[in-house]
């Protein structure tokens, strides 16, 4: 099957953008944090479990858009999996509502040791505009310590892709560092 003209066109700039080169200082800082907390994952093929903790769905939409051809999250080797036990990364969007909290907590418990947790969007950071409601527990930090926080309401797909590029570079850096120490 040949690629339709549109898709071929779309794969050229400016519609399709490559992730920005990650900031070296950011990568080094994140790599150091990951090494200190014992987080590890294969940088070349990250398995991600996404959970919406009960938000409006805007961050989930932008995350799904990031997977499309225009943004190319898949080109970074990111794939989404169902079982948290098979995930290297748990990515939370939305606040953690009190009604969702038990399910989110169960998913976090099922993560393999060393798995990373990411908070994407203002609500996942600290509850966002829903902070203080009788029905909202708060952000991801109420259940686990986030390794990476991406603010925005919602963060654009390009920023999601860039955050993953930084994370992958940091994982490669942390892996290389660990290898040198052992060697």
């Amino acid at each position: 099957m040949t690629l339709p003209r549109l898709i071929a066109q779309a794969l050229r700039p400016p519609l399709t953008r490559r992730p920005a080169a990650p900031e070296r200082t950011e990568v080094m800082a994140l790599a150091a944090r990951l090494a200190a907390t014992g987080r590890r994952a294969p940088p070349e093929a990250l398995a991600v479990r996404h959970i919406d903790g009960g938000g409006c769905g805007g961050c989930a939409m932008e995350l799904a858009a990031a997977q499309g051809l225009a943004h190319g999250l898949a080109a970074l080797g990111i794939r989404f999996v169902e079982d948290p036990a098979a995930a290297d990364v748990l990515l939370l969007t939305g606040p953690v509502t009190r009604n969702m909290a038990p399910a989110v907590a169960r998913a976090i418990e099922r993560l393999p040791p060393g798995a990373l947790v990411l908070a994407v969007g203002d609500c996942a950071l600290d509850g966002g505009v829903f902070k203080g409601s009788y029905a909202v527990l708060g952000g991801l930090e109420t259940l686990a310590r986030p390794d990476l926080r991406l603010p925005g309401c919602p963060p654009a797909p390009s920023r999601v892709v860039d955050a993953f590029a930084t994370l992958i570079a940091a994982l490669a850096q942390a892996g290389a560092g660990a290898g040198q120490e052992r060697g």
């Binding site: 339709p4 003209r5 549109l6 898709i7 779309a10 519609l15 996404h50 959970i51 919406d52 009960g54 938000g55 409006c56 769905g57 805007g58 989930a60 939409m61 932008e62 995350l63 799904a64 858009a65 997977q67 499309g68 051809l69 225009a70 943004h71 989404f80 169902e82 939305g94 606040p95 509502t97 009190r98 009604n99 969702m100 909290a101 038990p102 399910a103 989110v104 998913a107 505009v129 829903f130 203080g132 409601s133 009788y134 029905a135 909202v136 309401c153 919602p154 654009a156």
Partner: protein
């Protein structure tokens, strides 16, 4: 009294606030008959509010309460059951004789019991999660999954009752995305509270923002300048087209048709990038505010939107061909009976795809659509194929209206000051998935004393449950994607 139809009974009651104030006897009479159909039902601590539909036009009523219960509407209007359960959860008011006494949104984990009642109690220990309905037949088994779905999506918890692979019943458990929106809006100015309707359901953020703005503007009696009306209509049609492309992409993905899935997503990206250049954001979050808009269109905005429309226009025939191929595979799947659509007063694309002509944009006074003349688009099939075809046809009509609006944007101001005054207002907007409703009451200082928001998901959930019941098990995800009912919308 018996000679009058339901709408006549309502009109015979005294006018008060936005509509008519009913007495207990008239309410009880309305509860005994199916007409007129009910669009929305909610409460305040000592009042029940409802919006009925009289030949498609909204007919608001209120019922003052002397005790904490009212005669249920659900025996004759099954679509009211969800609202009655919500009223009990949030306000602690009982729908007497209701069809379903289970909680809806309250899973026994909120900090407060009946959080919007005059004196909510603190919850000391977790309460029960609402049970699913019991299996209807011996020999049937139950398949339950959720609340975390397999796909990148909001919470969803569903139960299917199966005999072999035949789906006997489907039921969703709402409430996981309950954020306590209505409580968070109280005591705020309309402009400060506008962030909540904007975050009710992301695919309809503009529609809910607009409904809320109309309610706030109606409450204090301001009218908007022509430029604000035109920009709002432009944004509403942009959101409709983007949302239809989004749902078309999800449907194609569920039906394992990757080409239309990617193509629809790409066209949506072309649109959203132009929208970002025109209005500073991809999704129209916090763009429409009470009094107008948060900002004007950028100087380069019109040209960017025209460029995007031209690019999309070139690719549109290809997407249409691919979608038509997809629709042929969807023929007969998830068919909805138009009588059920009418019974639950569900609007939006699922209704129009089941042959029911209902579109708020075509009601008189829905500015500025009298000049845009939205086409009456109807599909007869009621199945996933009809819903898919309708999305495409409606997006096509949105392109036409966006062009008209961009080519002739009126000059002048795009916002007005909102006086801080008391009042009551109702906003109804035809959103991408159907009617979006907002209601509020302002106190003398112009702050929100009471508020309500309704997403089309509330009325459409029974349609989805019926559509899943009619479909083979292996087509469940396709049927689900053809009738988007985000939990965020109905959970508040």
């Amino acid at each position: 009294m018996a000679a009058l139809n339901g709408a006549g009974l309502i009109r015979a009651c005294p006018r008060a606030g936005l509509g008519h104030r009913l007495d207990a006897a008239t309410w009880a009479e309305l509860a005994r008959r199916p007409d007129p159909p009910l669009l929305a039902l909610w409460a305040e601590p000592t009042t029940i509010h409802a919006v009925f539909l009289d030949r498609g036009a909204p007919l608001p009523v209120s019922l003052p309460l002397s005790e904490r219960r009212f005669p249920a509407l659900s025996p004759m209007r099954p679509g009211a059951a969800a609202a009655e359960r919500m009223i009990h959860d949030l306000w602690g008011i009982e729908a007497w004789g209701g069809q379903d006494g289970r909680p809806l949104l309250d899973h026994g984990r909120w900090e407060l019991i009946n959080p919007l009642s005059p004196r909510p109690l603190r919850r000391d220990a977790p309460g029960p999660v609402p049970e699913f309905r019991a299996p209807p037949a011996a020999g049937a088994h139950r398949l339950e999954y959720g609340p975390i779905p397999a796909a990148i999506d909001g919470p969803e918890h569903r139960q299917l009752i199966l005999r072999g692979e035949e789906v006997l019943a489907a039921e969703f458990r709402p409430g996981y995305a309950h954020r306590g929106m209505l409580g968070l809006m109280l005591g705020k100015s309309p402009r400060a509270a506008a962030r909540y309707p904007a975050r009710l359901a992301a695919d309809s953020t503009l529609a809910h923002s607009l409904a809320f703005a109309l309610a706030a503007e109606g409450a204090v009696g301001v009218t908007l300048p022509p430029r604000a009306l035109a920009l709002r209509a432009l944004l509403a049609e942009l959101e409709r087209a983007a949302s239809h492309l989004w749902h078309l992409s999800r449907l194609a993905q569920a039906a394992q048709a990757p080409l239309p899935a990617e193509e629809a997503l790409l066209l949506r990206e072309v649109l959203l990038e132009a929208a970002a250049a025109a209005f500073g954001r991809r999704l129209p979050m916090d763009l429409v505010l009470p009094g107008g808009l948060a900002e004007d269109i950028t100087p380069e905005g019109p040209a960017r939107l025209q460029g995007a429309l031209a690019a999309i226009g070139r690719e549109w025939p290809r997407l249409r061909r691919q979608a038509e191929r997809l629709a042929r595979r969807l023929a007969g799947l998830g068919r909805i009976d138009p009588r059920l659509v009418a019974q639950v007063a569900a609007g939006g694309p699922p209704a129009r795809a089941a042959g029911i002509d209902q579109d708020l944009r075509r009601l008189p006074g829905y500015a500025p659509y009298e000049e845009l003349e939205p086409r009456c688009l109807i599909e007869a099939g009621g199945d996933a194929a009809a819903r898919c075809a309708l999305w495409l046809a409606e997006a096509d009509d949105s392109w036409r209206m966006i062009r008209l609006l961009v080519d002739a944007l009126p000059a002048g101001p795009w916002q007005v000051a909102l006086p801080a005054a008391a009042g009551e207002g109702l906003g109804l907007v035809e959103g991408p998935r159907g009617p979006c409703l907002a209601w509020l009451r302002l106190d003398g200082g112009g702050l929100i004393e009471a508020a309500f928001l309704q997403d089309p998901a509330t009325a459409q959930l029974p349609l989805l449950e019926a559509a899943l019941t009619a479909a083979p098990l292996e087509a469940a995800e396709v049927v689900r994607a053809s009738l988007p009912v985000p939990a965020a919308g109905m959970d508040l």
